[in-house]
């Protein structure tokens, strides 16, 4: 693997502590503090990044990684603390200042103008004169040169919005290089990429490193840290808790550093006998107008008493699949039968109807789907079930039965240990984990016979993860049919009876839990798995497997 070659190149015997020797760090942060209201997002953070290295930063959701990088890029100003670039103290109070200091950043969500061409995006803010033509000519020349230097090739006159994400990311990188960045920050760059694109990216990063560019890489995927970085720093609860030489640490150690204690993955219990088919999906496709279909020929079924896990790199159609199963999105081809109700392109259903069929749905994106931030907790607790007779009263049930709703909410909060157990609190003011528990409580409380659940533990602390996993397994044992989408392979492995792997809008593999191991699942997710356990064939797709 190319990246590991890169590792050996830089893998000298450097003592981490002796930063006095050799060239000054490319970036040094001292005593950085940053608060948002009551949230102390960065507490006394120290970091130095050696020039010409790839430095990884890991940490749980909300650990303060992005905040730190935003401070470095002048998006936020630290409440206190110093930033040194190449040993010189600088004041970075705007993105412009960061650019001037030679820092470039590729954001989690791309900062591109979709309706502009690549060329226009690249020169935006770095034009060479008041007229566009001269700037464009200069930019075109420089792009050609960058392409030669780093193998970063993009068509300068293509509309950015029409490019695939991997190429858009390349535009982002080009933008920073165009501005003369010597330090490149990438915040979760691989979350949206396909495996091939990820691999491309790491190849580019290696090339950049060879040219002396310093890279800070934020990712949740310890695999990538191990493969691509020279050093790694760990953040927890806003603090920098450890720094390691990548070569001298392990995934297990990093995981433990991240959460602050030993992690015991949930132990799967083998399920009882399977019941009847509750959900069957037959040749379902969702088409898009100009690009490849979102879903193509999806075909599977789920029985009572089993959990079917959907694995895959995010962005391969899992979200669309949940939308389709919960009838939020209509299908273009095929047929879904859920609890006896047939859904076809001509006879679409809707979420309300499915709920009446005892199909519950814990959405992937709780902020945007699962709750209304400005509703009170008790209002959130009935979302989707607000038309039920038990929550309304009077002739035609014209009036909401507030006392009944409040009682209901209290009961849910108690059963699922939602804190604070306060029905009148605004949903937005609950912490992420508690929001997730409330949503889960709402859906599970209806005793569903089919449960659709997306990323059940995203952004949830470890204690809650265990609790949520237990709830899901209990529900399965009571005979519910569960479809679970997750990007966490460990979670998939820990809960699913059967695992479907999605790639590029299709289901590419299906395995029983007993036959699955993380290694081969990883290969399957990148569509590089070969049944006869032969090494992956050298082709356009999946030249290399996942590390």
């Amino acid at each position: 693997m190319l990246v590991s070659n890169a590792l050996t190149v830089a893998g000298g015997d450097v003592s981490l502590g002796e930063k006095e020797h050799g060239p000054p760090p490319a970036i040094e942060l001292r005593h950085i503090h940053k608060s948002f209201g009551a949230v102390h997002a960065n507490k006394d953070v120290h970091l130095f990044v050696r020039p010409g290295t790839i430095h990884g930063i890991v940490g749980e959701n909300g650990a303060g990684k992005s905040t730190l990088m935003s401070i470095l890029y002048g998006f936020y100003e630290a409440d206190s603390g110093d930033i040194l670039v190449d040993g010189r103290k600088v004041r970075i109070n705007s993105s412009q200042a960061a650019i001037d200091a030679g820092i470039g950043m590729v954001h989690q969500h791309f900062m591109l103008v979709d309706t502009f061409t690549v060329l226009e995006n690249v020169m935006l803010g770095a034009e060479s004169g008041p007229l566009l033509r001269e700037s464009a000519d200069a930019a075109r020349r420089r792009l050609a040169q960058l392409a030669d230097d780093y193998g970063l090739r993009v068509a300068p006159d293509k509309m950015t919005g029409d490019l695939p994400v991997g190429e858009q990311q390349r535009v982002e990188i080009l933008k920073t290089l165009y501005r003369g960045a010597r330090v490149l920050i990438l915040d979760e760059p691989t979350g949206v990429l396909t495996p091939q694109e990820t691999e491309q990216l790491f190849r580019i990063l290696a090339a950049l490193k060879k040219e002396g560019v310093t890279i800070i890489l934020i990712t949740h995927k310890l695999r990538e840290i191990m493969a691509a970085t020279d050093y790694v720093s760990v953040m927890r609860g806003g603090e920098m808790v450890a720094h390691r030489h990548t070569a001298r640490t392990s995934k297990e150690e990093l995981a433990e550093l991240m959460v602050g204690r030993r992690v015991n993955p949930t132990q799967r219990r083998v399920g009882s006998a399977l019941g009847e088919v509750r959900l069957s999906v037959e040749k379902v496709s969702v088409l898009r107008r100009r690009s490849a279909p979102l879903l193509k020929d999806i075909d599977f079924s789920v029985r009572a008493g089993e959990i079917v896990g959907i694995a895959g790199v995010s962005g391969n159609g899992q979200s669309a699949l949940l939308d389709v199963l919960s009838a939020i999105r209509p299908i273009d081809e095929g047929r879904i039968v859920v609890n006896g109700r047939e859904i076809t392109p001509r006879h679409p259903s809707d979420p309300a109807q499915l709920r009446d069929l005892k199909v519950a749905h814990v959405p992937e994106d709780r902020h945007r789907l699962g709750l209304v931030a400005r509703f009170s907790a008790m209002e959130t607790a009935i979302l989707g079930y607000h038309r039920r007779a038990r929550f309304n009263r009077g002739p035609f049930e014209f009036s909401q039965d507030l006392p009944a709703i409040e009682r209901h909410c209290r009961a849910l909060m108690e059963r699922f240990d939602v804190r604070p157990p306060e029905p009148f609190i605004k949903s937005a003011n609950m912490s992420g984990g508690n929001q997730q528990k409330l949503i889960l409580a709402r859906e599970i409380d209806q005793a569903p016979t089919v449960l659709l659940v997306g990323q059940p533990t995203r952004g949830v602390d470890i204690g809650a993860i265990e609790f949520i996993h237990r709830q899901l397994l209990d529900l399965r044992d009571q005979g519910c049919a569960i479809v679970m989408v997750s990007v966490e392979l460990d979670e998939i492995m820990a809960l699913s009876d059967r695992i479907l792997v999605m790639f590029d809008g299709r289901i590419v593999h299906q395995v029983d839990n007993e036959d699955a191991d993380i290694q081969s699942l990883g290969l399957m997710m990148t569509n590089a798995y070969d049944k006869e356990k032969h090494p992956p064939a050298a082709g356009a797709r999946g030249k290399r497997g996942a590390p």
């Binding site: 935003s70 998006f75 502009f116 803010g125 008041p130």
Partner: protein, 324 residues
Amino acid sequence: MADFFLLAVLTLDATLRVSTPLIFCAMAGIFSERSGIIDISLEGKMLMSAFVAAAIAAVTGSPWLALAGAVAAACAMALLHGFACITHKGNQVVSGVAINILASGLTAVLGNAWFQRGGQTPTLDASSRFMPITLPMADTLGQIPIIGTIYKHAISGHNGFVYLGFAVVPLTWWILFRTRFGLRLRAVGENPQAVDTAGLSVTALRYRAVLMCGVLTGLAGAYISIAQNAVFVRDMTAGQGYIALAAMIFGKWRPFHALGACLMFGLLDAVAIRLQGVHLPGIGEVPVQFIQALPYILTVVLLAGFIGKAVAPKAIGTPYVKER
């Protein structure tokens, strides 16, 4: 036939005259909305500047001072809009409504207080207004059939503002699509975060855009009160700001398309004046009210997507709040 031709040319002539304030305002709207700031206060800014122009012209007798005052007044209103929408991230529609109502009230109050004529300004004499310009050799060339006629009757003899209005359209296009400022302005209306991370100030860009908008609405206002007319009367813009807004949407936020829409609405108006009471064969007498409402109806139809989808700048209407 020759008569009909002349009539058509003269209708064209009138079209140019009545389209001019629409053109200025539509270009103004393009600057503002392309930068992401909804501007339904074109009407109010135009009214305010029309008043200030007439008031200054009446007092000083200088049309140039009046013009400067008009532009300054419209810019002041534009800055107010910017202060509310950019600095304080207020609701852009609400701010626009407020400015329209404020302008309607304030012009009448001040007009009455200063001139004691129920909100009117005194009538201006020729020396304190902008008068039509006869282009060189209009009469000589006018002898040539067709082309000459068009030159003499439709092209020559307009107010300087009319020519300026037509010059402003390619200028707007050029600024938007051929200059650095235009690139940044369009970017900030599509994705302000991209602009911010590119090291540019979203606030400064948007303020510059609303100022451009102010300058152009100021020209429109001055045209109405001290060029097209010689007096300011209460609410004299009579909804033209809204028509310009409609034209801008109709033109999908593009200068030349918007120009086309302005000319079409202007033509409707010019024709409406000439069609009044005329019986059309087969149709009978078209109610004037119908023709007057036509721009609004057409806009609704367009928005309904029957003519083609109008795609607004993506970030329009949302104040920019720094977030990761």
